[in-house]
């Protein structure tokens, strides 16, 4: 689980990009963020890398599950 809560644009996407590269395109990744703009940015990046993204919201925080 990548915790990108409170990180400002574009650090959450950089964290996901790092995880994708280091894990050599892992089949599944989870990311936690707390702003809609991060959800949008990560979703755009993840879909460009061939992932499908599921978003769950609870108490103003979002958990993104990226699957390939």
């Amino acid at each position: 689980m990548i915790d990108a809560r409170g990180q400002s644009c574009p650090i959450p996407v950089v964290m996901v990009q790092d995880a994708v590269k280091k894990g050599n395109n892992p089949a599944e990744l989870q990311v936690k963020v707390d702003a809609m703009v991060c959800v949008e940015n990560i979703t755009r990046y993840a879909s460009s890398q061939g992932y499908t993204v599921k978003v769950d919201e609870a108490d103003g925080e979002y958990t993104l599950t990226l699957k390939k």
């Binding site: 409170g6 574009p10 950089v14 949008e40 755009r44």
Partner: protein
Amino acid sequence: MSKRINPWVLITGVVVGIAAVLLTALGNPANMGFCIACFLRDIAGATHLQTAAPVQYFRPEIVGLVLGSTIMSLASKEFKARAGSSPATRFILGAFVMIGALVFLGCPLRMVIRMGGGDLNAFVGLVGFFLGILIGVFFLKKGFTLKRTYEVTKTEGFALPAVLVLLFVLFLAAPALFAFSESGPGSKFAPAFVSLLVALVVGALCQKSRLCMVGGMRDAVMFRDFNLISGFIAIFVTVLLGNVVLSKFTGFSALSQPISHSSELWNLLGMVLVGWGSVLLGGCPLRQLILAGEGNGDSAVTVLGMLVGAAFAHNFKLAGSADSVTDGVYKVGGIATTGKVAVFIGFAVLLVISLVNSSMLKKEAK
């Protein structure tokens, strides 16, 4: 690829372009329908933080942009009071971004508007801006972060919008308290309520679309993500067409451009400072206003840093002066030695901030 571009970014770009041309037609300075740096500088002048006579006016556009973002983010439930991500560092970065912008004579948004007005000096600025972004991206890839924000009290989130509204009410009720330019850019402005209304709409759209001048190039370079840069291009095309339609367009040239100088090295270096600093801040000056409107206290502090940077820029004569014609002789403007020194101090400060906050000087963390 097209599905990765949010149509709101394009719509916002077009509206910003139309608004910029409209505000200039209604009285704003040429190629300055919007300029976050210039307008904050004018507000610094109006509130006596700096005393350069030609640049003093309480620009309602700034109030409108911030408030438009506040209203839109409250409506969409995105307003969230948060802060705590290296505020003092952000203040300093805001100040140096402002100094770089005033050396060039415009924020990244005005750079695009100047490009649409045919000002070739702005294209030189664009090259510098791009180089600055590349430097910033290099440090982002080395793990640069100003650390996370936290949820904070509501007062933190409403601080900047509330102060701006209060000052604007004072400005309308007791204008004698404020300084007004009698000549120069500060003396040119569209009717206050038109400026406010147009900026409210633009601010709301910018909040919804996340439009950001620095974000466009950064995301294109880092992630091959062309979402935000599409807004940048939309503004340029709209302003260019708008100027052609209004017969304001006279071709591309570097000479005799409005509120612009042709000291190209300093146009370039000024915008390197802006691009680099803005990447470290996570967004251009416009984006900082919008984030401050959404309750981001760190961006509010950045805006205050920009205000102080503007005051320093004029009090210490760091800002660029425009090309001019006196007695038929064309005089190239540019910046004084103090401005040149300030740009290099800016580079040194940004380098230290970049190094200290990236993993380059740290031991590899697990």
